[in-house]
């Protein structure tokens, strides 16, 4: 194989001469994009719930970039953040498609205000690297979040919405790695030194009040039977996974005292914690200052 210049060899021909790094495929190629016969506003809201969970946690994990305790961990956290961002893009695109008002993934990610975000509080709270946590707290959150998401997505694969089913099937493999990464660290820190054990236990105590919201059905989820997953069904599976990891780590399961709601409302209703406004300000600032900016 010969080329006139070095760049020509990189484009537009079969890739068999590459030893590494080929065979990428488009995420949802060939998936039916038919919208199931359910209330469109409900389905849009449900896509936003799932998409915002992934988008907001992705942003939180990206805050570790250049701040992780080790170079290798920096790369690992960025990889996980990018996996979640990829899921968020597919889900927000679907939300815009179902809504039918011409909003794309960028409009939904960057131009909605706090009350229109539908993510759970666990995704948005500060767990480090800044005030509100540390690396152990970040691993505690990732363990709880990914254990819950795996239970949710494994059921969502049977959703009557073919796009949600496909996103779930793709996302499960990624989430399995996220949970494994978190569990490895929870066990090492919990079963490590006295100081690492103390901080790991403190990290669990910090995130535990937000577990209940993950397992409480919202009215939209109840109305979308057959399309949405009922979070109430996930409790025993999630509890089983968390108890197994905590037991291997020599950690104590915190007492279940759910975080307070505002008039019974929480993240799924667009009612967020104090941290959410600051998070959105940083995440949306560039796009709102320079609409449509690309690089």
């Amino acid at each position: 194989m010969s080329f006139d210049n070095a760049y020509e060899s990189l484009i537009d021909h079969e890739d068999t001469h590459w030893a590494f790094g080929t065979g990428f495929s488009e995420a949802l190629a060939g998936v039916d994009r038919e919208v199931p016969d359910v209330d469109r506003a409900d389905l849009t809201a449900y896509c936003l719930m799932l998409g915002d969970d992934a988008l907001v946690l992705s942003h939180r994990l990206a805050e570790w970039c250049s701040r992780a305790p080790e170079l290798e961990e920096d790369v690992a956290l960025a990889n996980i953040a990018l996996d979640l961002l990829g899921q968020a893009r597919l889900l927000l695109t679907r939300a815009g498609e179902v809504e039918g008002d011409g909003r794309d993934e960028d409009a939904l990610a960057y131009l909605r205000d706090e009350r229109d975000f539908r993510n759970v509080h666990l995704a948005e709270i500060e767990c480090g690297p800044f005030a509100g946590g540390d690396f152990a707290t970040t691993m505690a959150r990732l363990l709880v979040f990914s254990s819950w998401k795996i239970a949710q997505y494994s059921r969502l694969r049977a959703s009557a919405d073919p796009v949600l089913a496909a996103v779930a099937a793709k996302g499960l493999k990624e989430l399995a790695y996220h949970r494994d990464h978190a569990a490895q660290w929870v066990v090492r820190l919990g079963d490590g030194t006295a100081e690492s054990h103390r901080r790991m236990q403190a990290g669990l105590e910090r995130v535990w009040p937000f577990l209940d919201e993950l397992l409480t059905a919202h009215a939209v989820e109840r109305r979308l039977a057959g399309v949405a997953v009922d979070p109430g069904e996930l409790r025993s599976e999630v509890d089983g996974v968390l108890d197994a990891v905590l037991s291997a780590a020599g950690l104590t399961r915190p007492v279940d005292v759910p975080a307070a709601r505002v008039n019974g409302l929480a993240g799924r209703d667009g009612v967020h914690t104090e941290a959410m406004g600051y998070l959105l300000a940083e995440m949306q600032h560039l796009h709102r200052s320079l609409p449509g900016a690309t690089w």
């Binding site: 068999t16 590459w18 030893a19 590494f20 790094g21 080929t22 065979g23 990428f24 305790p69 080790e70 170079l71 290798e72 961990e73 790369v75 690992a76 990889n79 494994d180 990464h181 490895q184 090492r188």
Partner: protein, 94 residues
């Protein structure tokens, strides 16, 4: 912190590769985490189907000082090379 974590050498077998190839090194607290770190650092672009990690301390390397007695003697022994055969084009992996 890096100073307290041991160094590991990473070998990846690519999709089309027949053997594991050394791709670099990294720090990790133990073998399991070294495997996971290697997955994140060296196979992000779909490079691999199998990873080995080896403690760098377990590798015995030839010394640069011994380079001449080790390698020089083979320089003029052309008869050791099978360069006088014709190799058919459709024989793979040669």
């Amino acid at each position: 912190m890096s100073s307290s974590w041991p160094l590991w050498e990473v070998f990846v077998r690519g999709k089309r590769g027949l053997n594991h190839v050394h791709v670099g090194s990294l720090h990790a607290p133990d073998a399991e985490m070294a495997l996971r770190n290697a997955r994140d650092v060296y196979t992000r672009r779909n490079e691999g189907v199998s990873i080995w990690v080896v403690p760098a301390a377990a590798i015995t390397a030839s010394s640069p000082d011994e380079k001449d007695p080790f390698f020089e003697p083979s320089g003029d022994k052309v008869y050791r090379h099978p360069t006088f055969y014709e190799i058919p084009e459709d024989v793979p992996h040669l």
